[in-house]
């Protein structure tokens, strides 16, 4: 648990951080966000005392950081910086082992831990343990940076734009992996970014800062639905409705579709008599094969001819994807619904455009009010 109370940091006459109070509960991810220069990095680095606060108090796991030796404090906090900062002269294995080594772990335990962590961040230990940082791509280096921060299993993680230096595609992948790891490990995380989408995607709580001052500290839904002031309203952006979709998982709004098994397509005639126009076709293992548009069915044709075969990876979304992923896939393919599959490409449901629309408009009433207030 991290608690900041009235924390201030002064540079000359300037206040880089001004009377900041916030609390990150155990196992929660708090994303600190705001425009460049608003004091995010300063806040983070006061927690591990790379910067000394000018005032206020900072508690980590119930202890005042000022009462601890800086080195001891830092060894208990995982730290990831934007520029990664892997040690170029050390192998991946020894990079991960830096803090364990400082803590005096034995060799065997460090080696095991390095393997375990590489697995966790999705890198094959056989391939990566012996590599050097210069042999890694940006995304791989970021993963190693995260593994290194996790090495001594610190309960608290401080991450300063950890995915800032990778391309958008890799960033989304890293975010998804971070979300998965966090579901597994339940760390207390303070995560700095200036990417609002990243914040909404990963945060349990969002802390929005401006010129050293906290503007709003609330859940992403709250920030989207009830921005505290005009700054937050503008910062979150006009596509608030779309952003809300990031917070909704496909599996929460999907419905069960009409399904027939491959080889028994004539059943589709019967389905067509019902309300559903599209019928999904699966194989014996439950894997998505394709679909049939029952509007194409003629009474005396072979129903198998109406089957459109698809590549499940392209034409479906995973059940743990966000509604925004589902929407963009639908728009990309030009459908008004999309199949939902599990990790083995088995059909588990269907998401319709109507469901997306519904999720988008939730809470809009209030937003309209604020916008009117601002205008007035």
């Amino acid at each position: 648990m991290i608690r900041l109370e009235g924390v201030t940091r002064r540079y000359g006459d300037e206040l880089a951080v001004d009377d900041l109070s916030l609390e990150v509960a155990e196992g929660e991810v708090c994303v600190l966000i705001g425009p460049s220069g608003c004091g995010k990095t300063t806040t983070l680095r006061m927690i591990n005392r790379l910067i000394e606060p000018s005032g206020g108090s900072i508690m980590v796991n119930g202890r005042n950081v000022m009462s601890m030796r800086p080195e001891e404090l830092r060894r208990g906090l995982g730290y990831v910086i934007q520029s990664i900062g892997l040690f170029p002269h050390l192998s991946v294995e020894r990079n991960i082992g830096v803090v364990p080594h400082l803590l005096g772990w034995d060799k065997q335990r460090m080696a095991e831990r390095a393997r375990e962590l590489l697995h966790l961040v999705g890198l094959d230990p056989e391939v990566y343990l012996g590599k050097y940082p210069r042999q890694l791509s940006g995304g791989e280096a970021q993963r190693v940076g995260v593994a290194r921060a996790l090495a001594a299993d610190p309960p608290v993680l401080l991450m300063d734009e950890p995915f800032g230096a990778v391309d958008p595609l890799n960033r989304e992948r890293l975010q998804a992996e971070f979300a998965r790891i966090q579901r597994e490990l339940h760390k207390t995380v303070l995560f700095v970014t200036h990417d609002i989408d990243e914040a909404i995607r990963l945060a349990d709580k969002v802390a929005i800062m401006r010129d050293g001052r906290l503007q709003q500290f609330a859940s992403p839904e709250e920030v989207l639905n009830h921005p505290a002031n005009k700054f937050v309203h503008d910062f979150v952006g006009a596509d608030r409705a779309l952003k809300r979709l990031v917070r909704v998982r496909v599996e929460d709004v999907m419905r069960s579709p009409a399904i027939v098994q491959e080889g028994s397509e004539e059943l589709a005639f019967r389905v067509a008599a019902g309300r559903r126009r599209f019928v999904y076709v699966i194989d014996a293992a439950g894997k998505l094969v394709g679909w049939m548009d029952t509007a194409d069915l003629e009474p005396d044709m072979d129903p198998a001819e109406a089957l459109t075969r698809v590549d499940p990876a392209q034409a479906s979304v995973r059940s743990d994807a966000s509604l925004r992923d589902a929407l963009s896939r639908m728009l990309g393919l030009g459908f008004r619904a999309i199949a939902v599959t599990d990790d083995k490409c088995r059909l588990v449901g269907e998401v319709t455009f109507a469901a997306v629309e519904e999720a988008m408009t939730e809470g809009d009433e209030h937003i309209t009010n604020i916008a009117e207030e601002d205008a007035g």
């Binding site: 680095r45 591990n48 790379l50 800086p70 080195e71 001891e72 404090l73 830092r74 060894r75 730290y79 910086i81 520029s83 990664i84 900062g85 892997l86 040690f87 170029p88 002269h89 050390l90 192998s91 830096v98 803090v99 400082l102 050097y132 940082p133 210069r134 290194r148």
Partner: protein
Amino acid sequence: MSDHSLQTRFDRVALVGAIVTLAGATALPFVELRPNRLVPGTVHSLADAGVWMFATWGLVALALLSAVAPSAKARSAASSASAYGLVAVLAWALGEAASTLLVGQTSVARVSIGSGAWVILLGAAVIGFAGGEERKRYLLRRLGPPVLVLAAVVSAFVWGGLDDISLAQEFEVRAESFWQLLAGHLALAGAGVALGAVFGVPLGLWATRDRKVRGVVLGVTGIIQTVPSLALLGLLILPLSALGNAVPFLRDLGVRGIGAAPGLVALTMYALLPIVRNTYVGLAEVDPAVVDAGRGMGMSSRQLLMRVELPLALPLIMEGLRTASVLLIGITTLTVFAGARNLGILIFEGLGQFAPDLILLGALPVIVLAVVVDVALSALAKRLTPEGVRE
């Protein structure tokens, strides 16, 4: 790309080396015979070296072949063989020429090495280093061929008459003092580098930590470098002799205006610049993100220095030590003017007496030492470079 394809057709450097060797072997005097020191000598060509002349031609031909060899590997093998072979053959050719020409002469007659022989040696060096840095490294990595060449040169002394060459006779006359002077040279230059490192590395480190110190340290070492060594030596003699006179204890330790002390002080100051500067640059160039990560992970300043900063700066520090060593081996010769005893004595005595062989006896070992130290420290620097940051 086009340059590369041109290089694959023929090796220009090897070609130049072959031409140089050819010129040395044909157009210039190979050796000079003087019946005694006063009489002007007569020059003689490579033809006086008997069969060794043909061996030389053969090796030049091999160098020419290497220039047009189809594969890089063949080219490398041929030019290396040619270069090493030329050095070995040259030793035997000189011995043969000397012993042939001295037949029937009095014991004061001398055969000295002519300009042609030196040019052949130069040509061999060019051929050997053809192909650039890459080849140079390849050439120096293998110990076998240089040892064979050394054996050939030594055997030319013992059996080939090379000991009849004036340079060798000069050496024989002074053998005992030669080894002492060589040892003195090594000791003084080595001590200069060691002291330079003892003071220079911490100074460089200090300069990275303190802005004011940085200005002073880098400024002062820069000024020292611009003062000619001889002048620096002169400048040091006065204060040191004053100090020695004032404090008898220090004089007993060897602090006098004359002797090894002022030389050593001057050499140390000279060694400082490359060492301080390279230490400073090496440490300053460590990626700040890496230092930040180290501190953020809980390393103490000391751990950060020992585990991160110094290992990353080591290649540049070693480079500074290498530069300082090569520099000091050269300018140590000048310390003889302050009374130090080293190879410089031979050089300056030779200059005074107008005795080229004596100059060579001093200068050749200095050159060889400089090259050997250069190569050895490069190799050591390479070994000490952490694997992850090697080129």
